[in-house]
């Protein structure tokens, strides 16, 4: 197992380097540089050049890359020209919202998917199973932004049960109980929208895993010993099938990111996804590249975490 983890860690490092190079190239391709954001009409072109020289923007690319990376490591992501503030500070304002939204949607996903998957797998080919399978079939074909729009339209506008935009009701003081409740309340509908779509893969995984395990010899043996049906399921089948699911969330991060971008856009929810879309519309490129980098690092580390957890839970994966 240690061998697997070390080997997996060794792959992660070049992945991060590759991501940083890609983002760096993207940043170089974008119009403008770190100074564009600071431009003050009174500064002359010569002064600007001097400033460029001082900041090392005329250096060869590899030195610039090295400077950029060492800045990253120290948490310096550059300046946002739209907000006239450090990108790091700007992002940390938004990051909590996105984490809250992701947490809500992950919790909903597990609350919904695990019971449905178990029912669907245990009573496979029953009418109930057909309903669940039908739902997951539809869910697979439904783009998340359409689903989120429909959710917003029904529960936000037509029924008025949930707020239709923002992450907190205006006028609440940060730190109060009402503030936190309002935050959670605002995250519920978008989180549920992501969850109802993302449950389908977990449901399908659980179902096929349980249906598979049911026919294995050790289950037949357990039955033959006279174990009750509930005992067979609780002790033998679910334990084997549910543990790996705990590890999936790391892999889900990539799809969660796309999900939050769409859903934050639909619900005007001020998280990192919306910040990304706003920044790219307004050509605030230092923010854009920083976000790509952060999201990318999150998916790489998420996949790493999942692989490691899974290698602990499921010995089969270590063999490959």
């Amino acid at each position: 197992m240690w061998k697997f983890i070390i080997r997996r860690l060794l792959i992660t490092f070049p992945q991060l380097v590759f991501l940083s190079v890609l983002v760096f190239i993207m940043a170089q391709m974008m119009p403008g540089d770190a100074l564009t954001g600071l431009i003050d009409p009174t500064i002359t072109a010569e002064a600007l050049d001097l400033q460029r020289e001082r900041l090392g923007l005329n250096n060869p690319w590899y030195i610039q890359y090295a400077d950029w990376v060492s800045g990253l490591v120290q948490g310096d992501l550059g300046q946002s020209f739209r907000f006239k503030m450090d990108v790091t500070a700007l992002i940390s304002e938004r990051v909590m919202n996105t984490i809250l939204l992701s947490a809500v949607s992950l919790i909903f996903t597990y609350i919904i998917a695990i019971p449905l998957g178990i029912v669907s797998g245990r009573y496979n080919d029953s009418p109930l199973d057909s309903v669940i399978t039908g739902y997951s079939y539809l869910g697979f074909a439904t783009p998340i932004f359409i689903f989120a729009l429909v959710m917003l339209w029904i529960f936000g506008f037509q029924l008025g049960w949930f707020p239709t935009s923002g992450s907190v009701a205006p006028g609440l003081e940060s730190g109060t109980m009402e503030y936190y409740i309002s935050k959670l309340y605002h995250a519920l509908l978008p989180g549920l929208s992501i969850a109802l779509i993302s449950v389908v893969s977990t449901i399908q995984y659980l179902r096929s895993e349980i249906v598979d395990t049911k026919q294995k010899d050790f289950i037949v043996t357990a039955r033959a010993k006279g174990a009750s049906e509930n005992r067979v399921y609780n002790k033998h089948i679910f334990r084997n099938s549910i543990l790996p699911i705990a590890a999936f969330f790391g892999w889900e991060i990539t799809s969660l990111i796309s999900g939050t971008v769409f859903v934050e856009s639909v619900f005007s929810y001020p998280g990192m996804g919306l910040l990304f879309l706003e920044s790219i519309m307004q050509r605030d490129f230092s923010v854009v590249t920083s976000l790509v980098l952060l999201f990318g690092a999150a998916s790489i580390l998420g996949a790493l975490l999942s692989d490691i957890i899974l290698s602990i839970v499921d010995p089969r994966i270590r063999i490959k």
């Binding site: 061998k3 070390i6 080997r7 060794l10």
Partner: protein, 310 residues
């Protein structure tokens, strides 16, 4: 100059492991095999599965990488993959064990048999069709069936289509890798006799790989017995069957069923002796790792793997 000469051939497969997936050890599939083959003769390679006999054949034709050693064909060194030029490809062909997987299921018989022709000869559609029909005629498959697909044939017919493909370029050497072991016993003899017929007609040389001593006795002029990648005994068919020296060879021969009831007692006694010798003098025949020793000549044609004396 001999027709085909193999000198100290070794084929090792790496075992990967460790954090960096480096090679940690080797499986010695073929470990120092040498033999010579005369044109027009049939040379048998016999051994149990995993003994390296197929790997030897596949290394000669270039399907496996040679680790060390040399292979000469008509005096030319063709050990290296790059040395296996067009002429060699044309002159050496292979018949595969499994007639069900060795023919592409998506191709018609015409395309299958014409594949080598298309690679080496520029023929018009009409000429190509004519050649394919001639070849099918040689192997006794109905010439009307050129537009059929492999699944429409029986195992024996498929194997004969495989043979038609192998002889399409008029090769000199055919490596036959267990050509009949996937076939029904009733069809085996038919295919074997047929292989002997075309050998005479086309002056073919066979490297005949098999685990079945009975088949080999029927087909071959010279025989080598392989065990765990090494030779245990090598000699003419007569040497091997009438004067087996190595205990492994003896055991193989003792295992051939004899249907003549008159020989039953003799056979039984022979088996008992072999079993006794195996129990008592295993160490004389195998080294500490259970592998065979180097070959020692005991006559002009006959070599046996025994520990060096003195």
């Amino acid at each position: 100059m001999s027709f085909l000469e193999v000198k100290d051939l070794q084929v090792y497969f790496p075992i990967k492991g460790g954090i960096f997936n480096r090679t940690v050890d080797y499986i010695k599939a073929v470990d120092g095999v040498s033999f010579e083959l005369e044109q027009g003769k049939t040379y048998g390679l016999v051994g149990e599965s995993g003994s390296g006999k197929s790997t030897t054949g596949r290394a000669i034709i270039g399907l496996e990488e040679v680790t060390s050693g040399q292979i000469f064909f008509e005096g030319k060194d063709i050990t290296d993959k790059k040395a296996k030029n067009k002429n060699f490809r044309k002159d050496v062909q292979m018949i595969f064990q499994d007639p069900y997987s060795s023919l592409n299921p998506r191709k018609r018989v015409l395309d299958i048999v014409a594949e080598p022709l298309r690679n080496f000869e520029k023929l018009s559609k009409q000429e190509e069709k004519k050649r394919v029909q001639e070849l099918l005629d040689i192997v006794n498959v109905s010439t009307d069936s050129i537009y059929k697909y492999p699944h429409e044939f029986s195992g024996g017919q498929r194997q004969r289509i495989g043979v038609a493909r192998a002889i399409a370029l008029k090769p000199k050497l055919i490596i036959a890798d267990e050509p009949v072991s996937a076939l029904d016993v009733s069809v085996q003899a038919q295919v074997l006799n047929f292989l002997q017929e075309i050998q005479k007609e086309l002056n073919l040389t066979y490297l005949f790989i098999s685990h079945d001593l009975g088949v080999v006795k029927h087909m071959c002029d010279n025989i080598s017995i392989m065990y765990k990648g090494r030779y245990v005994e090598q000699g003419s068919t007569k040497d091997i069957f009438e004067n087996p020296q190595h205990i492994y060879t003896k055991r193989l021969i003792a295992a051939i069923p004899d249907i003549d009831p008159k020989n039953r007692d003799k056979q039984f006694k022979f088996r008992q002796e072999v079993a006794k010798e195996y129990r008592e003098s295993y160490d004389t025949y195998f080294d500490g790792d259970g592998l065979a020793f180097g070959l020692q000549s005991i006559s002009n044609t006959h070599k046996v793997a025994l520990p060096e004396k003195g």
